[in-house]
Symmetry: C2
Subunit: 341 residues, 2 copies
């Protein structure tokens, strides 16, 4: 799932270059790292990427080994459920008995080996459950993540999921962390394609039916048919649209340094900044993180700033306000400052 628009990483992320296509951690983009991380478990010939039509050529450039038919494009973003539905229809066309993992292309994972071990275990459980998700031991009372409540053990590391919980309040998040009975929901699901299609048919017929009809169109008319279908689709997430209503969901808890890299502050924690070629000169400054271009940056008497310097735009943001970077993008849209979007 490589469909994000990534407004929270402005000014590095732009409409044409959203977060998943940016090399925010290391040399690879988050998308490239996500595909590379599956190596040994899933060959590129069996990786499907779903992205916005505008980003198709960038994805092809970043993933040259990806077969052309494995790139599915959406004419417009409608959150994760339509993306999942589109992929499931294609997977079922190739193999109606397939097991697959659906996962976001814009997350960070520190320990790929541990991740693959957990994912392998999830695949092993998948035939015996509606879905197997991967849960992360919380390390902080995050209010930006969804949580899941652990149920009974079923064998190995796997447990039942009692409930999916939307982003909690700070008080609830602290209780979740203290109790030890909650995991972060990373939005990674392993399941049978037949089950996914059945779940969509049952809970989101308004999503799956128009899409099914559209992809049955003759190849020459498919793009138009998809565009018409998407224009009328509701924007709905997998969690809200399916998982909160599903029974018999299992979870394999993992510990592999996961982050959804939700904003500059989250990235700052992972990356400790990435200055450009020119130096950073602090004078009585602390807690700053610089993502730089090639300009020298001097910081005098400031605390806890995130500085993101690009060729045409500069962001100076208090770390605690990293979520508000989206508001900058909204303001740019309101002022019709297209050049910066």
């Amino acid at each position: 799932m490589a469909g994000g628009s990534g407004t929270r990483f402005w000014p590095r992320s732009r409409r044409r270059l959203p977060k998943q296509l940016l090399p925010v951690l290391g040399r690879q983009s988050l998308l490239q790292a996500t595909v590379a991380r599956l190596r040994g478990l899933i060959p590129p010939s069996r990786v499907l990427v779903v992205t916005h039509r505008e980003h198709a050529s960038a994805v092809r450039r970043q993933l040259p080994m990806l077969p052309r038919a494995n790139l599915l494009t959406e004419p417009v973003g409608r959150n994760t459920a339509p993306c999942l539905a589109l992929a499931a229809l294609e997977i079922a066309r190739r193999d109606p008995d397939a097991l697959f993992v659906s996962l976001p292309a814009d997350h960070a994972i520190g320990d790929s080996r541990a991740f693959r071990a957990v994912l392998g275990e999830a695949f092993a459980w998948a035939p015996r459950a509606t879905a197997v998700t991967i849960g992360l031991r919380p390390t902080a009372p995050e209010t930006g993540y969804g949580y899941l409540r652990l149920g009974a053990r079923v064998g190995g590391r796997a447990r039942r999921v009692q409930a999916f919980i939307e982003k909690p309040s700070a008080t609830r998040a602290r209780r979740f962390l203290a109790s030890g009975r909650y995991l972060w929901n990373a939005g990674i699901f392993v399941w049978e394609v037949a089950t996914v299609l059945a779940l969509l048919e049952r809970h989101l017929p308004r999503v799956i039916r128009p899409l099914r009809a559209a992809i049955r169109a003759a190849p020459s008319r498919r793009a138009t048919a998809l565009a018409r279908a998407y224009a009328r689709l509701p924007a709905v997430s997998i969690d809200y649209g399916i998982m909160e209503k599903a029974r018999d969901v299992l979870v394999v808890p993992g510990r592999f340094g996961w982050s959804d890299v939700g904003n500059w502050a989250a990235l700052a924690t992972l990356a400790r900044g990435r200055p450009g070629r020119a130096p950073v000169v602090p004078v009585d400054a602390s807690g700053y993180v610089v993502f730089g271009s090639d300009r020298l940056i001097a910081l005098v008497g400031v605390r806890d700033l995130i500085v993101v310097d690009t060729a045409d735009a500069l962001l100076i943001c208090d770390r605690r306000h990293a979520q508000d970077v989206r508001r900058v993008v909204r303001e740019l849209e309101r002022r019709h400052l297209e050049a910066y979007l």
Copy 2:
């Protein structure tokens, strides 16, 4: 006196472009504004500019109406007393009976008309005093300025000066402000050239004698002679070297919106920022001042920042730390980052 190096206005001011040559307020540089402000009182043919040798060509470009002989250059900066001495020697050569005003080229004055009226009054008193200075009614307990204590009235607005006081502590500055008996010392003096030379001879013979000898050298050898003399001169200010020891100094108090524009925070108060052509986008930001180039600048959740954006360097400074910008320059020197100096 256009000899400042202006390290406190980095990154706009550089070695080759110090503060007095920058258009920090309006379209004119501070030097151009200083010369323009004398219009009607002193014609350009009688304006002498003393500057560092490195800045001579920039000064000529900025003041094309200035006769070439009226630009005096110093091979190295030695504070204001040697600068005054060099000018006084040249003035005395042209007219031993001259009255003149010595003034810094890098101050801001809001009301030029009021300034000229006060300066005219100072010229009227000059033949009857050692020096006539111009004092400003303090509007805040500034610790960055020198002060002078008011003595008896002598006629018109003029008063005796009881004492010159160096930059005071915060407590003293508040007392000065409350008492109403102290003025800011703007470093502007009107005096007879014969008196100035006598004061220098008496209080700073180590300054005036080597300079007198150097300018008597043949024209072809004068630059070398001056360079040798300056190399051995002490760095000393007019205030410390002469005024604190002088008797019979008068002051004409003025009110014309004066500032020594000592740092970015002072300039921010005068100018309320000067963004570049691209917009500034604040989100939950306040108290900021932007001196911009042509990049869009977004400020999120920050308070009281000064942002100075140039082609190769960016300054982000808390307003209360504006004095520390000098430390950035020192650090650049220490790291031998010549390109940014």
